[in-house]
Symmetry: C2
Subunit: 380 residues, 2 copies
Amino acid sequence: MENFTAYNPTSLHFGRNVLSQLGATVGRFGKKVLLVYGKQSIKSSGLYDTIRQQLNQAGAEVYEYSGIRSNPVVEDVDAAAAVGREHSVDVILAVGGGSVIDSAKIISIAIPVEAPAWGFFERRMMPRTAVPLIAVLTLAATGTEMNQFAVLTNHKTENKSGYGSPLIYPKHSFLDPQLTTTVPAGYTAYGIADLIAHSLEAYFGKGEDASLTDRFIFAIIREAVEYGPALMKDLTDYKLRAKIMFAATMALNGMTMYGRTSGDWGVHSIGHILSFLYDVPHGASLTIVYPAWMELQRENLGHRISLLGESVFGTPDVDTTISRFRDFFSSIGCPVRLSEAVTGNIDYNEILRIMIQNKAATFVHKLSHDDYQRIIELIK
Amino acid sequence: MENFTAYNPTSLHFGRNVLSQLGATVGRFGKKVLLVYGKQSIKSSGLYDTIRQQLNQAGAEVYEYSGIRSNPVVEDVDAAAAVGREHSVDVILAVGGGSVIDSAKIISIAIPVEAPAWGFFERRMMPRTAVPLIAVLTLAATGTEMNQFAVLTNHKTENKSGYGSPLIYPKHSFLDPQLTTTVPAGYTAYGIADLIAHSLEAYFGKGEDASLTDRFIFAIIREAVEYGPALMKDLTDYKLRAKIMFAATMALNGMTMYGRTSGDWGVHSIGHILSFLYDVPHGASLTIVYPAWMELQRENLGHRISLLGESVFGTPDVDTTISRFRDFFSSIGCPVRLSEAVTGNIDYNEILRIMIQNKAATFVHKLSHDDYQRIIELIK
């Protein structure tokens, strides 16, 4: 087991009607609230009214920034930070999925500085303080509600990139599975895929001797494999939504990293390129790349894939395990080839060019240019 | 799944030589340190010198309270709190196992009040603030290093009782498995038993639908069942010590309670009575009571015992599962009958009297006086 520090200060409020405590919680941080959200769907669902009612009860002065896109871009973050700065907000309330909450995390550290937020991603500046962030999650997927990471896209630098800092843990996150019962099939499936991929990135990271952490990972993946298909058959089932929402949080709240020094994150970095070039949803990019990546690693990491297969599917066979993952992703409606996810032409040379430019998958299990080429063949 | 809040602010520093950061960490909380420890064994092992060196480097002014007993008593807590109050300490450093850290937790909330600490346990007073607490753990067992609970004994009220408050989470805990390599066989085994018992108290608590939390619990127990016996054969093995130490922390840091409203804690409350009357070590009291309690509950909780058996031992049979636990505890050298743990006469009527007086095991799965009698027969 590698040395590690476990630290996670987020208060996670999980279950039915937990939003009834939202106003009081926000109120403890101050009166001036920057409300950040994405599309107008929170208005049609009634969630927006619930939120505003809670904020009114707390006597909040609310400034809004809406229109955060999926695969969120740094321009929105800079614009929202300007609003927060102008009004000297006391607290940020992010309502949405990973895109909104990730954006809000960077907004929270961008407000105190007078500079474009991409500087954090390029390590040209370090945050010193953050505006407190409270999150209301509407999509079970990324785990951002209980971690210190955020991912943004910058079209100028041709980059989708991650950033981490203990300053950007949400102070509180509210997770009512009922809010996710209206998520359509596609994004439900991508969320299930995302939580499995997060678990795998940790599992294939550095520190193979963390046996209990491995068991936690198998527990999370088995939960997704067992209840994911049931949820796809009844998207409105609260209990199943709760199981998947809880699993998604656990998959990236730090516990899968205890006893390891890092996750691999190679598949994510390749997936980000597919999302960047073809606007492939994040979860879908991972179901395309992960089976291919495992095939590429079948010699190098055969022992790990075998243990994974035995613990999740009851088979130690490496090829069978990879097939089982591909079949599982397909069964819940996720693409496992890029051509399934993209209508129109795919420029594979462009993918290769950006992989090389971004040095994709060069963190733990480093991929060569030849490996990139093989991955591209395997995802075609 | 029941509604829950996940919150745990402790920073846990785990691994080889993590104490090298102790002085700097303590120093961030102030200069005046109340150092709390138990027996003189930390002096002979050299740990005391390491600690004092770290504190010296931080320029600390150190006040000591030593002599905390196992099955710690409230008188020590009151005396130590008086020392802390007299010198207006900025921070408490607890070095030891569960007894020392539990005592230090109550000291941390007793210093700010001018009253005997037992008032917290009798709910006659509520803490408002706490002196920050930093812990160095020398025994893998209770999980106190990363939770908000403490257990103390009061001989006047004939009571061993638990107390919980978010104020008593340690700010930082340092866990170097190397420090546990000198723990003798008995206490090593009791620690393994304790972590299994904690997992079971959560598993048999309220909220059976928390399937992922169940899987986490099975993971922790399987880790103990797989690596515990190996550790008993080589008490100095760092890797095995690390596995058990990590598992013990996970068994009671809150994660086994996600999706539940409470643990059962009936076995603990009965075990506390055996510890109180016969000074039976805590872990040993649990290996005596747990198999008996499961036998008593074999009808009522047969479905849970069966799932547990299947997930941990590969058998769904209830009686076999109970036997496997009893055999496992025996195999690592723990008593499974009270007569194995006590030399001299045992007054079973006195045990029954205190069970009735303390209303033992009346939290989730309530035991009647007849049940007490049956438990006593089963542990004889």
